[in-house]
Point group: C2
Chain length 219, copies 2
């Protein structure tokens, strides 16, 4: 476990007791999140693009079409901000003011570089595929030369990062606890529903175990 | 229904057939999302902060502590990018290359201003509360003078916006359809679990209907 230094960029200013800077907390949140939000600047204008990803050690892997504006921007070495948020529940306080959301979020900063080497590129694509569905890389048809050529893969080293976590029951003003208002937490969780078989499947193949028992929490 | 003009900022460049520019599609996605991701620029550095919000007509309402860096930045009139993404499922193709995620996302651009008037501020806070839990504003203890003074509320007019939507089964290469690989979609949905009553509740109050039957889809 490493500790990211607190800087003016990553330090949690609002409610600092909710801030975490250790890699264990930060990586766990990143690994559970399905997609991340990538922020970048072009002509002084902020942009955000949602995209799937993988964390490999202290880097974030992104991939996409060669023509992708986001990837070209990252390949040029520009700074990016990457954020993920897991929503865990609604916090229903007695007062409107103390309503909140239970969540775990990470904000990180870094800049990227292209992964050029074929073997490294395949390893990165494996990480991205396995991040979405662990077990899938060993079963799906792997990228061929043409597909590999059409794909850009970038690696962004996490230079600075912090997590922010809110959990537990509402906190109300002392005098409000006696009010006749239901208070508590409504937990929310992203859950898989029944898998939908592609109608164009020509063979009768059972749903793989890694799909039938899919859960982001298992990781 | 209005149509947002396509500009160099909001035009969907990758897979333009997935792009939507009409307010109906865009507002429906915004209204279903629980939180948004706000991107802004400080000293050429991109930042993203996740935050809850509400849409009121063609504006996005954000609120927070008076001391919030994000809100101060918005109050100063700086441009922001706001993004929301709803994940609908994992798209399992036969080839790794055609794996995808079913999603509905919105990216919008605008700049904000402070809501100063008390009545307008209360209306905006009502919208934010009702966006999280419809029905809650009428039951919870409303903000008092001290709380209202401690809260900043901003309204961001949506100047430009677009949605991007991917749905349906995987699309594979012609020659891959015969491969003995399970293909299809694993739907994902953010679902409420059983409400957790605050242990500090002093009275025996039933779980309100708007909590027991909570769903973001109902809107």
């Amino acid at each position: 476990m490493t500790e990211f230094p607190k800087t003016s960029q990553n330090r949690i200013k609002r409610l600092p007791k909710r801030g975490y800077y250790d890699s264990e907390t930060i990586y766990k949140i990143l690994d559970e999140a399905l997609i991340c939000h990538v922020g970048f600047v072009e002509n002084k204008q902020p942009f955000i693009i949602p995209i799937n990803f993988a964390r490999v050690n202290d880097t974030i892997i992104l991939h996409g079409a060669k023509a992708s504006r986001l990837l070209k921007h990252i390949e040029a070495g520009n700074p990016v901000c990457i954020e993920v948020t897991l929503v865990d529940g609604l916090v229903l306080a007695r007062s409107v003011f103390h309503h909140s959301i239970n969540y775990r979020s990470v904000v990180l900063f870094g800049s990227g570089q292209t992964i050029e080497d074929d073997q490294d590129k395949m390893a990165a694509l494996e990480a991205v595929t396995e991040h979405i569905v662990p077990g899938r890389w060993g079963e799906a048809r792997l990228p061929n030369r043409k597909e590999l050529n059409a794909t850009s893969v970038v690696s962004i080293r996490i230079d600075q990062a912090s997590a922010k976590v809110r959990s537990g029951p509402p906190g109300d003003e002392e005098e409000d606890y006696a009010l006749p208002i239901w208070a508590g937490v409504l937990p929310l969780q992203e859950m898989p529903l029944s898998p939908k078989r592609d109608e164009l499947m020509t063979q009768n193949i059972a749903v793989p175990k890694y799909i039938a028992k899919y859960s982001r929490k298992q990781k």
